[in-house]
């Protein structure tokens, strides 16, 4: 059992950035030069994606042609399963993404492979049981309040879904060998119909905002939204929110910052009020240079990414803050 397979993800014909991050994750898990890293392209036109994955650290590209242009969990599961059976890799890396949510667990369950998701650290360590080095993967637990190390006793092939933005994409280019792999025919039980861009009629562009004041569940009720709209206007910020506020319809979906909302790409100052800091929200804002978190719960996860923190009553802080931005103040 050797070799590492990296399953590259693509959407609507474009390679997704996570594919390259996984190449770096594979480097971190390599046990020596014999552990070859192969990037697997499963697509209707896999050759089109090849130039994008010929990056440093890639020894081989495996192309697998399937009929579906867009996400097809049955085809992916079948192709990766067949590839594992043929090559018996020690490790298979998949992005921890919405697509992998749709097939990785089925792949692992059917094959009986070692399996963990949302992994942000991996490497081989000595095992007390056998004395042999075994793979150890680290993930979060209890809402990211603890780290959990998992291992995979007795598993020859391990499938890991790796958290995005954890490993830096590799630098440099490579000239990997290219292998074609023929996947067994599969009858897909799902079919793709269309992609829908969510528009809300609110013309705000969170990705362009430099100063965002964002509100979360801590504001309590819908009637309080207006206070923070006024505060944001007074301090010159664009009002954003976390998922529960958008789901409740208190603010339009276009204002939601996070994995399934918008990324605060241009933001320099992010003031999070009443946001506990779920991993999905952090994905959209943890890169911001200056984050200030205001929260009633001193144990909130948001304080671990914020530069400044205030533990206190949101409304009192909001009212007192506003007095500093009154005309003439």
């Amino acid at each position: 059992m050797s070799g590492i397979l990296v399953i590259a993800e693509h959407r609507r014909g474009e390679l997704r950035a996570a594919a390259l991050e996984l190449v770096s994750a594979a480097q971190a898990a390599k046990r020596g030069a014999a552990d070859k890293v192969a990037v697997v392209l499963i697509a209707d036109k896999p050759e089109r994606l090849m130039p994008h994955v010929s990056v440093g650290g890639v020894d081989e590209i495996v192309t697998v042609k399937i009929s579906a242009h867009d996400f097809d969990p049955d085809a992916l599961e079948s192709a990766v399963g067949a590839l594992i059976a043929a090559r018996k890799p020690s490790l298979v890396l998949i992005p921890h993404s919405i697509d992998s949510f749709g097939y990785a667990a089925a792949l692992a369950a059917k094959g009986g492979f070692g399996f963990a998701t949302d992994v942000f650290k991996l490497g081989y360590e000595g095992s007390e049981d056998s004395g042999q080095a075994g793979l150890v993967a680290t993930r979060g637990g209890y809402g990211q309040k603890v780290n959990v190390e998992v291992d995979f006793p007795g598993k020859d092939t391990i499938v890991l879904a790796v958290r995005a933005n954890t490993f830096k994409p590799p630098e440099g280019v490579s000239s990997p060998t290219v292998t074609e792999f023929t996947a067994p025919p599969v009858r897909s039980r799902l079919s793709s119909r269309s992609f829908i861009e969510v528009s809300s009629g609110d013309d705000v562009d969170m990705t362009a905002a430099e100063f965002i004041l964002s509100i979360g569940r801590g504001i309590g009720e819908q009637a309080n939204v207006e206070r923070f709209q006024e505060l944001a206007a007074a301090v010159g910020a664009t009002l954003g929110c976390s998922r529960p506020i958008a789901d409740a319809g208190w603010l339009p979906k276009s204002r939601q910052v996070g994995q399934s909302g918008k990324t605060a790409s241009a933001c320099k100052l992010y003031v999070a009020m009443g946001i506990s800091g779920a991993i999905q929200h952090l994905a959209g804002m943890k890169h911001v240079a200056t984050i200030v978190a205001v929260n009633a719960d001193a144990g909130a996860s948001i304080f671990s990414v914020a530069r400044y923190g205030i533990v206190g009553d949101l409304f009192e802080i909001a009212d007192a803050l506003r007095t500093h931005f009154e005309p003439g103040s």
Partner: protein
């Protein structure tokens, strides 16, 4: 016509907590139990389908867990689930999401529902894999992160939208029966009335053992799992510089940070 809804009694941590002596979990005394947030949405989706259906639909809630999972099931009954099933056996202790899925699949085989709903993930360990692994054991079609669903009970297919990164939706069609993992925001979960909570307390919860489901003990617990927890520890996280003082002082400092960061434009 039947819809099966998988629910989990999750655990959140108390503000202060300690790691268990064996280093592999948090001491149970520091765990605060509640129904997984995603599962509220799965149940609501099933109840909505039942209420809109022309013919009778039975909604069955199922949970794999010790006795304290009854609390989650009673909440489902109070909101309108017709029946509740809990599966437990000492051997299930230490199961990962895949071993739990094996149990859920056995319950689905016994109940033969037209659809099985599960949450996208659990708020405690967030493996995001139980539902899809259950489908694998059943050899059913599966879809994850469903944010919109069009389904008529008894239909051969359903149309759903899965929620992608960046807020884009992907509309797909799936053959039924299927397992769907339900995303937050797909609906607005109802609250149970005080009267229905009281009534639910008197309703029976069917308790099944591994033997009832024909599952061998080695197929669950650590031996039936695809991963094993080796160590749990409190990470050495970065911590914000805390702004102390009274509200006025804290607000003044925050105002200064804002004015500095945006170049005194205000």
């Amino acid at each position: 016509m039947k819809l099966l809804v998988a629910v989990k009694q999750v655990a959140a941590l108390d503000e202060d907590f300690e790691i268990r002596a064996d280093g592999r979990d948090v001491e149970a005394d520091f765990l605060i139990r509640d129904v997984n947030e995603w599962d509220d949405y799965s149940l609501e989706e099933a109840l909505k389908i039942k209420e809109a259906a022309a013919s009778p639909v039975e909604v069955v809630a199922v949970s794999v867990g010790p006795e304290d999972a009854d609390e989650a099931l009673r909440k489902c009954l109070a909101k309108g689930a017709d029946r509740a099933i809990r599966v437990w056996d000492e051997a299930i202790e230490g199961s990962d999401s895949i071993a739990i899925a094996r149990v859920l699949a056995a319950v689905a085989r016994k109940e033969s529902p037209q659809m099985l709903f599960a949450g996208v993930q659990s708020s405690d360990h967030a493996f995001a894999s139980t539902g899809v692994a259950t489908a694998a054991f059943l050899d059913w079609p599966h879809a994850a992160v469903v944010a919109n669903l069009t389904y008529t009970p008894g239909g051969d297919t359903a149309v759903f939208r899965r929620e992608l990164e960046g807020g884009v939706l992907h509309e797909m069609q799936i053959e039924c029966p299927a397992v769907l993992t339900i995303q937050l925001g797909i609906n607005t979960p109802r609250y149970a009335s005080l009267r229905s909570i009281k009534q639910a307390a008197a309703k029976p919860i069917e308790v099944l053992s591994l033997q009832d489901l024909g599952i061998a003990a080695p197929d669950v617990g650590e031996s039936g799992s695809l991963s094993r927890v080796r160590r749990m520890y409190i990470p050495d996280k970065g911590r914000a510089e805390m702004i102390e003082g009274d509200v006025e002082e804290q607000a003044a400092r925050l105002a200064q940070i804002i004015k500095d960061a945006i170049g005194g434009a205000a």
